[in-house]
Subunit: 380 residues, 2 copies
């Protein structure tokens, strides 16, 4: 076994854990918070609740919510300017992957200066970041756990992957009660994003015993709990989806991902699609592409979703992929690329951008842009 690294934030997990927010901020030396969120959350009342907790504990804050789904480079720079101008000393992000990634970008610029595109790729952040506390409100992005930050370069129409241990927040407070107010579509998209994190990081060239354990746990929990979470909004099922997203975050942050995410980033840079809804389309053909390089691991996934049985590894691996296609199909989400793209003329550009994404490096089977195009054509 090669040398493996495993770094995660301090995690506070559970129903009602949001009340620990102020004591965490104070423990990190915070007095004046830059609170990053998006406008969708205000309606659900979570931002008010957080402001109330901060106020009751004598903490000041500045609120920044000019963050899109798929956050843009200029939004990061605007946020950093506000942090400095307002003399904030801690960043708290509340929301899905977008405000958390924006917060990571802001922290990077505050601590290191320059333009956010200077840090694209792995290990380019050299100076310390201000303290970060994240409160994820979806069970999927894993940004609350991970070393990854995805920011759209608007001029180049590219989603940049920025990867650094410095991007792991200091503390993540994960309260599954926030999932009770989420739409069905968001729960599905988030859970399938977490599922894709688990599958791709389990197959990754950098997986280790520490990450594999987490990945398999996430796969099992999502396969068992997504349907009950939607049908009855059972808090136990929603909590299990939160545990799964956290475990998948631990896995992909330390093991990396694969070409499914390379293609998703490439697609997301060109078209403003909901990231989690790309995976039901891409993951099955990506798994089939990786079969020659990972039959035993794909068989392990097959045994989790189909149940154990006496058969060849290849048979159960393929049965697992079939099971997944039926599983995704049951949720009434697009399952073909043609359902979300205007026409197939963009596929070559998507494949050529994806081949240079950092996630391609850890894919278990080497992939040229032509093989990525092949995966897209299979998904069309």
């Amino acid at each position: 076994m090669r040398i493996s690294k495993f770094a995660i934030p301090e995690i506070i997990f559970g129903r009602g854990s949001i009340v620990h927010l102020a004591s965490c901020a104070k423990r990190l030396g915070g007095r004046r918070v830059l609170l990053v969120s998006d406008q969708g959350l205000v309606g659900a009342g979570w931002v008010d609740r957080i402001m109330e907790i901060l106020r009751d504990n004598g903490l000041e804050w500045v609120y920044y919510d000019a963050v899109n789904s798929n956050p843009r480079d200029y939004q990061v720079h605007d946020g950093a300017e506000i942090y400095v101008r307002e003399r904030a000393d801690v960043i708290i992000a509340v929301g899905g992957g977008s405000p958390m990634d924006a917060a990571k970008g802001i922290a990077t610029i505050v601590g290191n200066g320059g333009r956010i595109s200077d840090y694209e790729g792995a290990n380019r952040i050299m100076r310390p970041l201000p303290p970060m506390i994240f409160l994820p409100t979806t069970a999927g992005s894993g940004s609350d756990i991970s070393q990854f930050c995805i920011i759209t370069d608007v001029a180049r129409q590219v989603k940049m992957s920025i990867i650094s241990r410095s991007l792991v927040p200091n503390i993540s407070i994960i309260d599954p009660l926030v999932l009770l107010t989420k739409s069905e579509e968001l729960i599905i998209a988030s859970a399938i994003d977490a599922f894709a994190h688990a599958v791709e990081s389990y197959l990754s060239l950098l997986s280790s015993p520490f990450t594999e354990l987490q990945a398999l746990k996430a796969i099992r929990l999502i396969a068992q709990n997504l349907r009950p979470a939607l049908n009855d909004r059972s808090i136990e099922a929603l909590e299990n989806l939160s545990i799964a997203a956290t475990a998948a975050g631990m896995s992909f942050s330390n093991a990396g991902l694969g070409i499914g995410h390379s293609l998703a980033h490439s697609l997301g840079g060109m078209f403003d699609v909901l990231h989690g809804l790309v995976h039901p389309i891409l993951l099955p053909p990506v798994m089939r592409f990786n079969l020659p390089a990972g039959v035993d691991k794909l068989a392990a996934i097959g045994r989790i979703v189909c149940g154990p049985r006496m058969c060849s590894s290849e048979y159960i691996a393929l049965a697992g992929i079939d099971w997944l296609e039926r599983f995704f199909g049951d949720f009434n989400v697009p399952v073909r690329l043609r359902d979300i793209l205007p026409d197939s003329s963009c596929l070559e550009t998507i494949a050529k951008t994806a081949v240079n994404d950092a996630c391609t490096l850890t894919n278990p089977r080497p992939a040229s842009w032509e093989s990525l195009l092949g995966v897209c054509q299979e998904a069309w």
Copy 2:
């Protein structure tokens, strides 16, 4: 599920990972190292190797090795005095649980002043500690991962449990190659200590999905790899014992332990016994005592060590405990308390000290000093 906390150090794991030591020290701002170890390690050449790495990277160091097995309060204070006098700025500990726990004690005094006994119990450390990097040379103590520090109060003849999130080192570098030079007795004692961490934390009142996963992984790996690690010194088996000790450390650090460790601390305070050799004696009667409060979890352990079978939970739980007694017996270690204590007159004192140990609070079944005495008598 109640609110769970999960905090671990940054981990660098793998054969040869020791070479990352200097870059880690520099990343934490270190220029002048207090290097804490014990005399046993010098012979094996590991301390020389570490000094060479520090020298080659332009780092200065002060060496402190006046640390016993079961480190004493005065050794902590002596070390803290040296740290301050020599203007060190980072602590590196190399060795088993004893030098790592001594280093945690030194860091506590350096950052907070006072006497080490001021911090006995949970969450008494209020001010930040200097940066710590640990290189464990046994696969067992888990001190490289955990929030625990065990120091003997010489005057009171008590092993104090000090528990604080601040005691998690910044970085742990775990290189299984160091196990190649260890004695058979030390490998057994360490592995059984890790096994006891896994079992007790799995049963603990504070266990969570994040810790349970790690505990079961450790139980499986130790049951499968301890014999091969001893028979052929296979590096794969030794590496698996390292992974198990790390996983068990993640589990007990966050879930706590139980009365087996309360009794082991009490015994270790009165008699200078090797901590890991107490568990083969205590763990089976402790598991039987906890059966009424944890039959399903004890059954899960039974299924791991005995293999899955169709039977009642109680039957497989008891079969697992029987399997463990045979497993421990095979390693030619003491399996009765009478083999390591002079006479049974001390048992009442041991039980009365143990009932106040912090580990008793998380035991799944409430335990009075009389029940602890009963466990000791069963183990006699």
